[in-house]
């Protein structure tokens, strides 16, 4: 795929502009109860070496047996990435030595992965949508964990993660800025979470990225790339790309050349540094694992998994725009998490979609963010928020009173409709009562009435006074209409 050069995305060097080219390998932990080739638990944490079978510890004579759920999860993910599903794939041994890899090799897929080419549509903040090509997805084992800070001369090794299934999702070098890279990972994470194939919890290491970065003058062939290993947050991915691109530009502009290597991002120092020890390890000597037969299944199996897939983010977004009349931006915000989308639909059902979206995005999300809560722990349920939207729609309360009501429901709970009754929050729509208030204000302020004839913006002051006099409960439309008529303002 060729990607058109967008001048806005170029990085200014000392001599000229540079285009950064990014491809990513995302390691996503497969959601499953047990490991890829053993019956040990995948649960996060646990006592050291407690979630370890003799297979994971690579004891002699142990044989791997594949977990069928991990296969299904990989196929579901492939379908979610609109990718080709390979009915036959092969497990290979990737050989290297490291203390947290007791086998001396990682069981992975090299030549024949379970999933082939696909694509991900990525929406950027400015409203642009890019297509990022997926080269492949394969299944592999995670390694164990080494702790280096327990002892000055020794590392502590815990194999609880050893053998947990990972999906490595390899993108094409289709990304052209740190912003695109962040948006891509965000979108991929959303898709995985919708599918339920990876929980996307970056803090627990469920999603890690290896980022390939190179720079070139626009239109020229690809430059030499460096791979930044194991970046574990979306923010760090963005930062790592920025500093790495600038490092490479500085070297090239100084007349140097980039050597292809593996680097680490240090968020504390804001720099990447070479991981020299990894260099010689690159000779992985892949060969088919003699302990495992090829993984084979038919189209009927793929079809049965496809039938069970949930509505995916792109389809949901399109449906929200189409059936609720939402803007692409609002729809995008709502579908980012399946739970938010479900909440919105519960509020919007049988109601005005736009009003529901406004309340969910502006009031609810705003408040949740402020309090550091998420939608699952929202004190205001979809039913309660729906009732508030109804009360506004029916003209029982004004939008302003609705915000007060929302506050009460948030902090005290309760049925919004009953609260409106018991606390006397009903909007006054009785024109008689409003008119009385309006007349009184006009009578008390003859000077303002005079001014308003020349300066119609003073209407706002009258509206404010009327709302004040009616305790905020007067119907704003009625107040406006009455005032305009009485003051003679068009």
């Amino acid at each position: 795929m060729t990607v058109a050069v967008n001048p806005k995305k170029l990085i200014k060097g000392g001599l000229h502009d540079w285009e950064v080219v990014i491809g990513m390998e995302i390691h996503a932990q497969v959601t499953s109860r047990s490991k890829l080739f053993s019956g040990a638990s995948t649960e996060f944490g646990g006592e050291p070496n407690d979630h370890v079978s003799l297979v994971d510890a690579a004891m002699p004579g142990m044989l791997p047996v594949i977990n069928e759920e991990c296969v299904a999860q990989a196929v579901r993910t492939g379908l979610g990435l609109k990718a080709r599903i390979n009915h036959r794939s092969v497990f290979d041994r990737k050989n290297y030595f490291y203390p947290d890899l007791p086998q001396g090799y990682q069981i992975s897929q090299f030549k024949d992965p379970i999933v082939g080419e696909g694509e991900v549509l990525v929406d950027l903040p400015e409203g642009e949508t890019i297509t990022v090509g997926i080269e492949r997805l394969h299944l592999e084992q995670d390694a164990g964990k080494s702790l280096h800070d327990q002892n000055p001369t020794q590392s502590f090794v815990d194999l609880n993660r050893s053998g947990v299934a990972l999906m490595e999702i390899v993108s094409r070098p289709d990304l052209r800025s740190s912003e695109e890279a962040r948006a891509y990972v965000t979108k991929l994470r959303t898709i995985l979470r919708y599918l339920g194939t990876c929980d996307g919890d970056m803090e627990k290491g469920s999603l890690r990225a290896d980022v390939n970065v190179s720079v070139r003058k626009p239109g020229e062939p690809l430059g030499t790339r460096c791979e930044i290993k194991n970046v574990n947050s979306i923010r760090f991915i963005g930062q790592a790309i920025e500093v790495e691109a600038r490092r490479q530009i500085a070297i090239i502009e100084d007349g140097g050349t980039i050597s292809q290597e593996t680097r680490l991002f240090d968020p504390g120092k804001g720099e990447t540094r070479s991981m020299r020890s990894k260099e010689e390890a690159h000779d992985y000597r892949y060969f088919p694992d003699p302990d495992l037969l090829p993984l084979e299944f038919d189209q009927a199996y793929v079809d049965s998994l496809a039938e069970g897939l949930p509505e995916l983010p792109d389809a949901k977004k399109a449906r929200f725009i189409e059936s609720y009349g939402l803007s692409p931006y609002d729809a995008g915000v709502l579908i980012a998490e399946r739970s938010s989308a479900d909440y919105f639909e519960a509020v919007a059902k049988g109601r005005d979609g736009k009003a529901a979206a406004n309340w969910v995005i502006n009031e609810l999300f705003g408040r949740l963010n402020k309090e550091g809560k998420d939608i699952e722990t929202s004190p205001v349920s979809a039913t309660q928020l729906g009732a508030i939207v109804d009360l506004i729609g029916e003209g029982v309360i004004s939008g302003k009173i609705a915000k007060d009501l929302f506050e009460i429901v948030w902090s005290e709970g309760g049925d919004p409709r009953a609260l409106v009754e018991s606390r006397g929050m009903k909007q006054v729509t009785d024109t008689g009562a409003i008119e009385a208030a309006v007349d009184e204000i006009i009578a008390k302020n003859p000077d303002k009435v005079q001014q308003a004839k020349e300066k119609p913006t003073l209407l706002g002051w009258f509206v404010g006074q009327t709302m004040k006099a009616t305790g905020g409960k007067a119907n704003p439309a009625a107040v406006n209409a009455l005032l305009k008529a009485k003051l003679g303002i068009e």
Partner: protein
């Protein structure tokens, strides 16, 4: 196909096998003899033949996703030269 002394050293290093200088030449000879023997296979025309993965036509066995193992950290680290709190202890490896 044949290997030189440098390749022998490299293969040994990648496999973490200590090979002394005196051993390199004999190993090189042995490896080349093995490679020459295997190379006879290239005389066979295998154009269009799928690589055989098993002598019996069978599908790979699969497990259902159930936790059936774990909970024996003591056994896991039992043979390790050094352990602490059921961790394996190894010479420090850090980037």
């Amino acid at each position: 196909m044949s290997v030189d002394a440098t390749t022998v050293r490299r293969i040994a290093h990648l496999a973490r096998i200590a090979v002394s200088d005196e051993e390199v030449a004999p190993l090189q000879g042995e490896l080349n003899a093995i490679l020459a023997f295997v190379e006879q296979l290239s005389e066979v025309d295998v154009e269009g033949v799928e690589p055989m993965t098993s002598v019996t036509p069978m599908a790979m066995k699969k497990r259902s996703d159930v936790v059936t193992d774990g909970g024996h950290a003591r056994d896991i680290v039992f043979n390790a030269p050094e352990t602490e709190d059921h961790y394996f202890l190894v010479p420090k490896v850090v980037e």
